[in-house]
Symmetry: C2
Subunit: 333 residues, 2 copies
């Protein structure tokens, strides 16, 4: 559990894209984004109040989040100066960098000396049990994709926002590093030991009110040879009542696997439903989220209409159209 709210550290980001983790927090949890700290030469800007470490602490910030990729995989001395200052001022630090904070002796020493925490969200912060497979009160929705990186996290966050706007009882449950930094908790599922993957998913979507929805962040794809085991654990640990199929229609092959074609949405529907019904016989596919970022508006709308007719399910691009129709579909089951 990462303490909130955050000071978003943009460092010396070379462009806006390098700060996409910070942008995700700004977009999806604006109430947690107290301000931004930019160093000399920073080319990213979230439009937040500029704050020094001291100003952020005075404003109530609890954690400095490294919201930017580091260059060349090195945590530079220039960064270190700010990070040590933050620890000394009473902030924890959270990071999704590949190089871990805990491997930097000066940061570890400063954290210890000041009683602060270093959160490396790429690695699990706790042990998880073996999954029990027991039904849990409350309802759960999981996005599954024809491929990796087709918009599963975006879809779940957009649905959460829409559901909360409607007064529904809903929580996004992060299973990857960006999602964890956005919400302040979750599990980096791809870094969990095999035997405990499904148990980790059970843990982050526990017993809840009967009308509560967990929107569990999907990972990988059942059809992706490298990561399908993680997706399987999400389905069997998540026990979803509802599945959203996610797809990117212009992709030429599976991400990182040039010899693999994407499955059809029909194949994904049939396989995901078969697997989900092992743990939840009532599970249904309720809608389709299509990432049309690479298509012009008219092409995108035609594609969505075609998929909707073919599959007999609402098909939307939540980025263009919002997630309203996906939430409508959830409310019908």
């Amino acid at each position: 559990m990462i303490r909130t709210p955050y000071l978003l550290f943009l460092g010396d980001a070379p462009d806006q894209l390098a700060a996409k983790v910070a942008q995700g927090i700004r977009d999806w949890r604006p109430e947690l984004a107290l301000g931004q700290l930019r160093m000399a030469g920073c080319k990213a800007d979230l439009g937040l109040d500029e704050m020094s470490v001291r100003q952020a602490v005075d404003a109530g910030a609890k954690t400095l989040v490294i919201g930017v990729a580091n260059r060349g995989g090195v945590i530079s001395d220039a960064w270190k100066e700010v990070l040590v200052e933050a620890l000394e001022a009473g902030l924890d630090i959270a990071s999704g960098l590949h190089n871990l904070l805990r491997d930097e002796p000066d940061l570890v020493a400063a954290a210890r000396a000041n009683g602060r925490e270093l959160h490396d969200v790429r690695v699990p912060e706790r042990d998880y049990p073996v999954a029990t497979g027991k039904p849990r009160p409350g309802r759960r929705c999981l996005a599954v994709g024809t491929d990796c990186s087709v918009g599963k996290m975006y879809t779940a966050l957009a649905m959460e926002r829409e559901m909360r706007a409607r007064g529904m009882n809903a929580d996004f449950r992060a299973t990857g590093q960006t999602g964890i930094l956005i919400t302040g908790n979750g599990v980096p599922l791809d870094a969990v030991v095999a035997d405990f993957m499904a148990g980790a998913v059970e843990t982050i979507s526990p017993d809840n009110d009967a009308d509560h929805w967990d929107l569990i962040e999907g990972q990988g794809s059942l059809f992706h040879a490298s990561y399908s085991g993680v997706t399987m654990a999400l389905i069997h640990g998540g026990q979803p009542d509802a599945l959203i199929l996610c797809h990117e229609p212009t992709r030429a092959h599976m991400r990182g696997l040039p010899d693999y074609q994407l499955p059809s949405l029909e194949e994904l529907r049939d396989l995901a439903l078969t697997l989900a019904r092992v743990v939840n016989p009532a599970c249904q596919v309720v809608g389709i989220s299509v990432n049309t970022a690479n298509m012009a508006e008219d092409e995108a709308l035609a594609c969505l209409a075609d998929i909707e007719t073919r599959m007999g399910l609402p098909a939307v691009d939540p980025y263009r159209q919002g997630a309203g129709r996906l939430v409508d579909a959830l409310q019908r089951i």
Copy 2:
């Protein structure tokens, strides 16, 4: 890679069952089992030559394998005395115990002082890459089960033995601790980090001769909510050409999951084949291995005949009948 041959340490085993790891080595790799070392009060006996550490070293042993479960999860002082003696005499030690050798400071010190290795086969000894999904020369067979612990390892080892007896080019590939101790190498798949599970399976069944068969040890079950992700990684990393379905007909519910019924063999066939064909479109289900240990002979034979008719595939209990008909089926594809 564990150095062979072995001295099998039976310690103070309270009964024969407690020495089942040693029994597995004795049964499946008798050429690796040079002798047995039994302490006072040992109730297990493999019928091997009794050897002291010194006699085993003189006979050419390279590794002492702890072939027995320890009582109460403690590596006792009485054991320690023998283990330190083995390290000092030039033997490595291999163990599948839950408590790790590496967590025992006196063993670590003795290993270091004598330049010897401690193999804890419950934890991976190396890092594994992300799976590439690329086709590999050579052929592969994987056993998949309706449940956990239905005889997948036994089936693969029995097939390996039969294939070698026929002069075929075949290797059992261990994916669990007992299999690793039996063969001296493999991966403890349930202890691998999620992102690298399928890559670990690719690593242990690499490019090979066109006529070579890997018999990959199965784990878990696609229908077992706790461990299905591991099974998925075996299918997508293993890229099997042939699947053997494994089943235990008398089981009342999924192992450890009292509320879950076993799937039918038809359900297992359809699901496993769908998943395997994602990575190997030519994959076929070639036979069925039925564990009839809990049935009388006539009941077992009737059950096998029924399954064979129903499924249109050879159905055998390799323990009662040998694996010949399963190997015949492999040779036909």
